[in-house]
């Protein structure tokens, strides 16, 4: 009998956690410094499973960290830098108080500073790790670069953010990596594909800042501090991968073109180069001046285990991507002054278009309004005084919609003063049987290469729309009567492209296909008959869900039609 009495809270989860205050004391740091250290090192608070055990019987809400994490922090060299900085501030304050200006000078000269390079290396052991986490860095970079330099954060930080984001945009342009753009009420969402990683970021509209008071700027600045370091290294690597010079240099040809007499009007001499870079209007210099895009084809390994179908699908995708990358190639844009210049220049250049703007808007314009070779002028006002015959006057949404649709959309819907079609989100991916807005259906039809008769008259178009809708309805009816299993089979075999109409050209091939289909359907019916009770139950459930979805879709479509009709009636009335 006997032995030592076990004390409470000396083993188990109570010893695995540490409260924030104790951790802070253990590291001998002030709370802001501790917070900064945790953010930089990527150590986050942890919610224990059994709070009462960890909190020694108390249920008061507290912030806990894992003890091992804090022990890991003890080895960080930056901790000593933080302490040094604290002493530095104290000395500086004293010197100021005593008005010892020479001491102030001396102290400021020896201000302790630290680098985060080793932390970046430690947190992101490989380049791909860093790329996966670059979303946040980009968001913060773009956000901070739009801040006014009024002392909410260091001016230097803003400048650094601006530099890095410009570098990033230049890289995306050079690699033509942009995939999607979405103009939302918050800001502009971009998505790019870099080295196989999908990277999304959010850019605020210009001059849209009010500074919210419930945001901890110190925390945000700390995040930015880490992310600028990360973004810089990632940029370097990306530039290297494209054989571009880092830090970016303008192409020698472009540089000579951009040379102007009145550069001082835009910026100081020291800044004019970076300003030119940020104008995004010219290409960058390469390490080895390569001969225009060597066509590197994917090596084909036909005898591998993969199916030919998959291979073909991939090839098709590749082809589509290639065409998407070149949708603006050969076009010459001119951006009017009322349009967001940077975003449009970025997007247009990403897809191979040439772009320019008025000289008074920004540095780096390459041609004038009067240039006869301009094909598109982007205008966002009701009318333009002097119009040129040989160019389209379009609204900015056309550019973004083209990018999202991956084809050059007809310009008629986007002419000056025309009521724009809705700007759909490219980030929504409709699943089978979901409701698809008719505008998207139209775009999908265009993507497949079906030509809609392009006539200038609006009514024609309306009719077309109606046609579209009719087809859609037909589809719906078909789906509604799909109690027979054949339909299901079709769905499975054809995959996504169900909702869209079947082209009349296929009728000839139908007979053998139909036979095959029937055979398959028969097989399926038999399979269903052979199902166990349990499986059958599950199957029925799935089918029921699908039908319900179809019903909902039908309802939405009907609603939409009613809405459209009402709109049309209104329009007609207005016309009368």
């Amino acid at each position: 009998m006997g032995g030592l009495q076990k004390k409470k809270y000396e083993r188990g989860s109570a010893t695995n956690y540490i409260t924030r205050n104790r951790a802070r004391k253990k590291l001998m740091l002030s709370l802001p410094d501790f917070r900064r250290l945790c953010i930089l090192k990527g150590i986050y608070p942890h919610e224990p499973k059994h709070k009462k055990k960890v909190n020694k019987g108390s249920t008061a809400p507290r912030t806990f960290y894992l003890l091992k994490d804090i022990r890991f922090l003890l080895h960080e060299p930056i901790v000593s830098k933080f302490r040094e900085y604290k002493i530095f501030v104290r000395k500086l304050r004293r010197a100021y108080g005593k008005t010892e200006w020479s001491a102030v000078e001396r102290l400021k000269e020896n201000k302790p500073a630290y680098k985060l390079d080793h932390i970046v290396k430690e947190r992101y052991p490989t380049f791909i790790d860093a790329l996966r986490d670059i979303d946040d860095a980009l968001c913060m970079g773009f956000l901070f670069s739009t801040f006014a330099r009024t002392g909410k954060c260091h001016v230097q930080t803003i400048q650094l953010c601006r530099r890095l984001t410009v570098e990033w945009m230049n890289y995306v342009i050079a690699s033509r990596a942009l995939r999607k753009v979405f103009l939302s009420i918050k800001g502009i969402y971009y998505q790019a594909e870099v080295m196989g990683q999908l990277i999304t970021w959010l850019v605020p509209y210009q001059f849209s800042h009010d500074h919210p008071t419930d945001v901890d700027y110190r925390v945000m600045a700390t995040f930015t501090e880490l992310y600028t370091t990360l973004l810089g290294f990632v940029n370097f690597r990306l530039y290297q991968s494209l054989n571009l010079v880092y830090p970016p240099k303008l192409d020698s040809k472009a540089e000579s073109e951009l040379k102007e007499d009145d550069e001082e009007d835009y910026a100081m001499n020291s800044e004019s180069y970076t300003e030119k870079l940020s104008a995004l209007s010219s290409s960058l210099a390469r390490v080895v001046s390569s001969v225009e895009e060597e066509d590197a084809k994917l090596d084909e390994f036909p005898d591998e285990g993969e199916d030919m179908e998959k291979m073909e699908a991939r090839e098709k995708e590749q082809k589509q991507l290639e065409t998407q990358k070149k949708i603006f190639e050969g076009l010459k844009f001119f951006i009017n002054r009322e349009v967001p210049r940077e975003s449009l220049a970025f997007v247009i250049r990403c897809f191979g278009g040439q772009v320019s703007w008025d000289k008074s808007v920004c540095i780096g314009s390459t041609y004038d309004v009067t240039d006869e070779t301009i094909t598109h002028q982007i205008v966002d006002r009701p009318n333009v005084d002097k119009q040129y015959m040989n160019r389209y006057y379009i609204q900015p949404q056309w550019v973004y919609d083209c990018v999202n649709a991956k084809i050059r959309l007809p310009v008629e819907d986007y002419f000056l003063g025309v009521n724009l079609p809705p700007h759909l989100s490219p980030f929504v991916e409709e699943k089978e049987g979901d409701y698809v807005p008719p505008e998207k259906l139209k775009i999908m039809a265009l993507q497949r290469g079906e030509k809609l008769a392009q006539q200038d008259e609006e009514e024609e178009e309306e009719e077309e729309e109606e046609e579209d809708e009719n087809e859609e309805e037909e589809d719906d009816e078909e789906e509604a009567e799909e109690k027979n299993l054949k339909k299901m089979e079709e769905q499975r075999s054809q995959g996504k492209s169900l909702q869209v109409k079947v082209t009349p050209g296929k009728v000839k091939v139908e007979n053998p296909a139909r036979l095959e289909q029937e055979e398959k359907a028969e097989e399926k019916r038999l399979a269903i008959m052979m199902m166990k009770k349990k499986e059958k139950y599950l199957y029925d459930k799935i089918m029921f869900g699908k039908k319900r979805k179809v019903r909902e879709v039908n309802k939405l479509a009907a609603k939409r039609k009613a809405h459209d009709d009402a709109e049309k009636a209104k329009k007609k009335k207005a016309r009368k």
Binding site: I39, P45, H46, E47, P61, R62, T63, D69, F72, H75, E109, K111, P112, A113, Y114, K115, V120, E122, R123, D129, D135, C139, H154, Q156, T157, L160, R163, L183, I185, Y189, T200, L202, D210, T213, V215, D216, V219, M220, E225, T228, G232, F233, N235, F236, R237, Q240, P340, D380, R381, Q395, P396, Q397, L420, P422, H423, S425, F427, V428, P437, H563
Partner: protein, 464 residues
Amino acid sequence: MAARRRLKRVAASQSGFLSFKSPSDPTSSVGSRRKRVNKNKKKNWNKYSDVNDVDEFLEDVRHQERTTGGLLSEKADDSLFFLDLGQPEKPQPLAETPQADEGRKRKGKASRPLRIDLILKPDSLVPPPKDILAYQQPNAKKLRRIAEKAERLAAKGVVPRKQKRLLNRRPIDRTVKKAVAEANNNPDRDYYDIWGQEPKVSADPWYLQQTGKKLVKRPEKLNEKPSVLPAVEVIAPGGSYNPDFFSHQALLQEAHQVEVQKKKQEDKLERQLAINKEDKATEETNLREQVEGLVEEENDDEELAPSKEDDEAALAAIAVTQKKSEKQIKKEKAEKLKEQQRLTSRRQTERQQQLFQLRSIKASIRQQEEKTKSKQMQRRIKQEAQKAQPRRLGKLKFQAPDLDVQLSDELAGSLRQLKPEGSILKDRFKSFQKRNLIEPRERAKFKRKLKVKYVEKRAFREIT
């Protein structure tokens, strides 16, 4: 010293100078009786010797020196007297002076001393004493000797040690400054290929580890993200600047739901905090409260009576427990034993019967297992869902930000007229909180250390 010596000499040469001892003053000897004082004390000498005449004499000498620059008696006759030749001819010097004056005025009005300077100028003719120390060099002799020695050595070609040391010192390269630590947010900082090559470690790993120069390896577990949510959550399609009608409606619906939920919560709280009508004071209850204890109640006696009965019953119970006969005890024991036997036999039969219930037992076990499995499944699903949820990391719970929505009439027709909604900074901040990267916090409130004391000013008080 010199001055005193001169004074002595002067005094000796003066005929009027009287020695100390001589009873010179007839007035003092006549006027009062001489007081006898011991002259062997310095104090008495100081006190009782009359020095007026000496003082007078010295004062006179000083006066002479001041005014004439020496003693009159020593001056040559030429300097004291002059030959009176009568009135000089006035016009001639007058005629001369205006010209000269004019010329002087022209040339150097500035050179003429100011009157104030003249006033302040010392009028004594005694030259100021020389400061001898100013011309003296301390340790002159020693220094001279050292210099001589150095000269001698230099002639021999021997370099002194100090100079030799200076010559031998390694020249400091002033151009190479100590590497100034560059700030992290320097906009012109340079980057390099951090993932390219591993830096070579030349030193002994043991040494590095012991001296704390080696970086500790980061645990793998720290690279896991605390939440599965993506960094950038794209706004719903209804948040487009020019949205599709239905998706916009859907977004509005969602925002509406959130608001309704909030309202519900508020209403619930209000309901719970509302006053119960029965608890309100009425006239009747007030009266009853005031009268309580004053009006005698009559059922006091009745209450007392039954309490007596209770006591009796309790006593009886105690008596009964004491009165248990041996027979009774035996009987109880036997009954207990019997009961136990009955139970054991029953258990035995039951167990035997279970042999035939094997199927149903198996079924029940299977059922139980299934139940646990489904529970496990549900728990796992719940855990997965939890991963996307913000955790409770501090005092405050995560508050989801308001949905950014523009009403149908707020929607802009074109990109130019678009009015951005919400703040991206806040959106990012909330995203960090939602992904459990930072704990939700409230802004620290300003705390006043000392209490503010309000005093009504007199002027103000007079008015009110």
